[in-house]
Symmetry: C2
Subunit: 424 residues, 2 copies
């Protein structure tokens, strides 16, 4: 690595560190706590002003805020505000989201905690595990791991597919499979299996239990066996129960469907560049926690990254596109915040694994675009959605699906990796 | 059906009924209860005299006695001895076999209940579910179903294979997979998956819970997808985790290994005629409990039965052989008690499904041999092992693996089916 690159990376490190400690952390500790009802507030406009929105609290953002505030406490243990923020979030979550009758976590409650939707969605359950295990890792409060392991048990009891492997993803309040179609009881996806990989990693990290490790290894096996395009090496999207790829749809109880409603089937020929890069770093991370070599996965990782470099990175304007075909240029070319945060981490991991500087070029392209257009430096959080060239489409800093998990986590993970790279 | 056949079947019905009510039931109620320590005694010589044997109590026979005495109580509710026999068996089982620390059931204890082998074997866990659910169905004591469902949960948590489907079968006291080889942590089998089918059926019958039904449907799917020979239609035997057939071995903690030790791999080209017929009737039974049509399974059932008629039935001496190749005459030609009891039920189901009288011919061949040689009519139980022509090899009436489950259950199931056939 030449000296100019090193200097640039060092400067990026400094910027990221400032943004994390002086932006993201205070942004969320000041605005993200619901001091009236407990739990978290996540809907903020472009000026960082809370907007009531639909007044609902979603499992996804409540748990992501538990995860995020737990991380903040790990990094700033002297600041008791983050411990308090995490702990009151767990209180609210356990009091209002836990299904005391049938076990598991509800999908959505009112701001005051009264029940709106008792649906059992594996995406939500996975974030509950992830957040609660992290909360115990960070604070030592065993309540988190206890509920995380109970959730793990319920996943095994109700959601695993003991005929074909993997997990059913969309279930009703009583843990029956949802209907086929929009409710997607007939589907499996890379997205949710990847988030199971993510949460089993943290669960195993917190518990050290062999069964959590075994389930983590199995989910990796499922993803790599069925969910990667055999020819082009990119991730596939949605599948039937037998893991046959099916044209993706917007699924009830997802961010896309909440925004766009019940869309008809899209094209089979589509991949999410950043699910691919997120998979890369989550897989590397899982190997680290299990103290296993990444070597068996180097080939698949390299193909995932190279596919993104070829089609996902916007080498002209910077940043990264959202979706595109398996072997042709990107089609959905607007730019979304979480794709940028996750790809930063994945690209640094790819460089650390392969030493290929084109991965650092891509990292810099994504960082430059993020720094220029996504980050609201004055307020300390990222805008939601931009055009290909960086004009705001949605400059809001929070919404029912956007909190501090992508931004805070990516800044933290990038710092760790940049430190290693800069030490080289 | 001609009148001679009907008369013969009626006579068999009478004999079976006498044998069940005046033989099997009193035999076990008089001898099978351990009045000193609780639980059951199952080791009896050819004269029906208790022999201490290795002084061990095995999960398999303790649970089978709970199952059997629960059945006796269903059939003779006026006889409180069987209720008492079942209930004290559950007491002993819960007190001495339940792993209070890690959950699940031990493999083997001393006669007085002190622990010998804490191994977690899915074969044993499946019989615990089967017996405890039956006990609740029969007596109304909810303790049985409660423990059965907790065992089901532990199977889902620790034993299901969420990468490839089906279940791991051999686990250590702490629920880690056993080593490969003799301890068979690397194997799956038709035998154990069939007994999971059996126990999930009774669990669903007792609980009515959708998740128990779903797991039952999944195990049927696994068995039919992977465990039947695609060309010859007979059952396969042992598999690796990916369900690739592997040469069968005697596995630690099984009856074969207890008798014969660590045998090297047998031939891939082998099938158990009576696992095939047992699968037939357990599958038909499961469909009945789920109120599903058997139609989707008629073809596979017919091939299983026809294979047995071609190679398994000993048309010369009567009875049924134990094992043989997929497409050639039987090789292991001595005759064992449980193969005879289970095949009687399977052959009657085959006749009820297809109306083919050759299935009744086979039934009569097996019954004749059983009646002549296996049943000790004076004492009321079956001998263990005979030569091809009926000379005793082991005339003992009970052993650590032989109790009243095969004999009592088969007599009861045959009566139900013969009644239906005789009504035609």
């Amino acid at each position: 690595m030449n000296i100019e690159r090193k200097e640039r990376l060092n400067e990026i490190y400094q910027k990221i560190s400032r943004h994390f400690f002086q932006g993201v952390i205070p942004y969320w500790l000041e605005r993200g706590i619901d001091r009236e009802f407990g739990g978290y507030l996540t809907t903020f406009d472009a000026q960082g002003k809370w907007v009531p929105g639909d007044q609902h609290k979603y499992i996804v953002t409540q748990t992501r805020m538990i995860w995020g505030t737990s991380l903040f406490y790990e990094r700033l243990p002297q600041d008791s505000r983050s411990l308090q923020a995490a702990s009151q979030g767990v209180d609210f979550f356990v009091d209002h989201f836990w299904d005391t009758k049938r076990g598991g976590w509800f999908w959505k409650v009112q701001r005051d905690g009264s029940l709106v939707d008792a649906g059992k969605v594996v995406y939500g359950q996975s974030f509950a595990i992830y957040a609660l295990a992290k909360y115990t890792l960070s604070t030592g409060d065993k309540r988190g791991l206890d509920y995380a392991d109970r959730t793990f048990d319920l996943l095994q009891r109700y959601c695993s597919d003991t005929a074909r492997g993997g997990y059913y993803e969309n279930l009703e309040p009583d843990w029956r499979l949802s209907e086929p179609g929009f409710a997607a009881g007939d589907r499996k996806s890379l997205d949710i299996h990847m988030h199971l990989l993510e949460c089993f990693t943290t669960l195993y990290e917190a518990s050290g239990m062999e069964i959590h490790r075994r389930r983590l290894q199995e989910i990796i096996e499922v993803i790599l066996k069925y969910m990667i395009h055999p020819e082009f090496g990119c991730g596939l999207n949605q599948f039937d129960h037998e893991f046959r790829p099916v044209p993706p749809i917007a699924i009830r109880r997802t961010w896309n469907a909440e925004r766009e409603g019940d869309l008809a089937g899209g094209s089979l020929d589509t991949t999410s560049y950043v699910h691919n890069l997120e998979l890369v770093w989550l897989l590397v991370y899982a190997c680290g926690i299990m103290e296993l070599s990444v070597d068996p996965y180097r080939a698949v990782i390299q193909r995932l990254v190279d596919h993104t470099l070829q089609y996902g990175i916007d080498w002209t304007h910077g940043g990264i596109y959202r979706d595109g075909p398996h072997n042709a240029p990107a089609v959905i070319r607007d730019k979304e915040w979480w794709q940028h945060t996750e790809s930063l981490v994945g690209l640094l991991d790819a460089y650390l694994l392969f030493g290929n500087e084109s991965y650092l070029d891509a990292f810099e392209k994504v960082w430059w675009f993020s720094d220029q257009f996504f980050i609201n430096h004055e307020l300390g959080e990222w805008r939601t959605l931009l055009t290909e060239t960086g004009e705001p489409i949605d400059a809001g800093l929070g919404n029912p699906w956007k909190a501090c998990y992508h931004t805070g986590r990516a800044m933290d993970e990038c710092m760790k990796r940049l430190k290693m790279i800069l030490k080289e």
